[in-house]
């Protein structure tokens, strides 16, 4: 049997940038696009990073809460908020809908995928999302051009998350600290990934930023 190498939903938009590739969770992902110093400058000014390779697990249905609790997962108390279970990001997208995402090296989502199946009152949802990190001091200027609501205020404070539209694409967005940097995390349907990546990257370049590889925030191999 051949080994399957997964592609990021936005891989098609990245190849022309001639990036240095790596592999995380079986997916080919961009390690870096340019010199680390240049990428660090971009990350501080304004940058977009593709992290679609992070493992996700999603579940919904009236028994979803109990199924996750039975596995010992600590859940956020209310809809539209997020928390951490150990290092795993747990997002509560509704009263009975959850999306979990592991950082690199954590196996929680993989274990849940193996242990939980759709059945009475639960539906395991396949999430082939395009997932991005947006960082930099000019974030608000970028969002002002593509998002109709103000995400810089209390909307994303206190572990809140928002489901809204960015450049016309439905997204889940939250504010997070990664490697000591305050940044935005963003998930959208994978099929919109290339459009959203190109739209955001065009504006980011106009504002003096650029794309950064996953090495800026995580270590791949």
């Amino acid at each position: 049997m051949q080994n399957v190498v997964l592609q990021s939903p936005v891989a098609f938009a990245q190849t022309s940038l001639k990036p240095e590739m790596g592999f995380i969770n079986g997916m080919a992902i961009v390690n870096r696009y340019s010199d680390p110093d240049v990428e660090s400058r971009h990350a501080a000014t304004l940058a977009i990073c593709d992290v679609s390779c992070l493992t996700r697990f999603a579940i919904k249905g009236p028994a979803a809460t109990d199924s996750l609790k039975a596995k010992g997962i600590e859940l956020p108390g209310s809809a539209n908020s997020w928390s951490r279970h150990d290092a795993t990001l747990v997002m509560r997208l509704g009263n009975s809908e959850f999306l979990l995402e592991d950082p690199i090296g954590v196996q929680q989502c993989k274990e849940l995928t193996e242990q939980l199946q759709s059945g009475d009152g639960v539906h395991v949802v396949l999430r082939n999302d395009a997932s991005f990190i947006l960082s930099g001091e000019l974030l608000e200027e970028l969002l002002a051009q593509v998002c109709a609501i103000n995400l810089s205020g209390p909307m994303l404070a206190d572990n809140q998350l928002a489901m809204t539209s960015i450049a016309g694409v439905s997204v889940v967005v939250l504010r997070q600290e990664v490697a000591g940097q305050s940044l935005l995390r963003l998930w959208c349907d994978g099929t919109f990934g290339v459009y959203l990546w190109e739209t955001l990257l065009n504006i980011i370049k106009e504002l003096g930023g650029g794309p950064v590889g996953i090495n800026q925030f995580f270590n791949s191999n």
């Binding site: 109709a148 489901m163 809204t164 539209s165 016309g168």
Partner: protein, 87 residues
């Protein structure tokens, strides 16, 4: 920018919402007359006024009811289906 209150996600631009048609009580198909059923299927009341409508918030997948005056386009309140009497 026009804004609409989603009962789950709060105030959002109306571009994130889709209109789902007027909310109408369905007569019991087992007991109602053919005339009542045909009226429910085929007739719509187009006169402007205060109406209950289905609306959908796309990014979160939330269907809800909005009470909207279709003459003035003012939305008086929004709520999830079945939660009309909740504060």
């Amino acid at each position: 920018m026009k804004l609409l209150q989603c009962p789950v996600n709060g105030i959002r631009p109306v571009s994130e919402f889709t209109y789902g048609g007027e909310y109408r009580e369905m007569p019991d198909p087992d007991t109602c007359s053919d005339k009542e059923w045909a009226g429910y299927v085929h007739y719509r009341h187009g006169a402007p006024g205060l109406k209950k409508e289905w609306w959908y918030h796309g990014p979160s997948g939330t269907w809800f009811i909005a009470e909207r005056n279709t003459l003035t386009d003012k939305v008086s309140r929004t709520y999830l289906y079945g939660q009309e009497n909740k504060a």
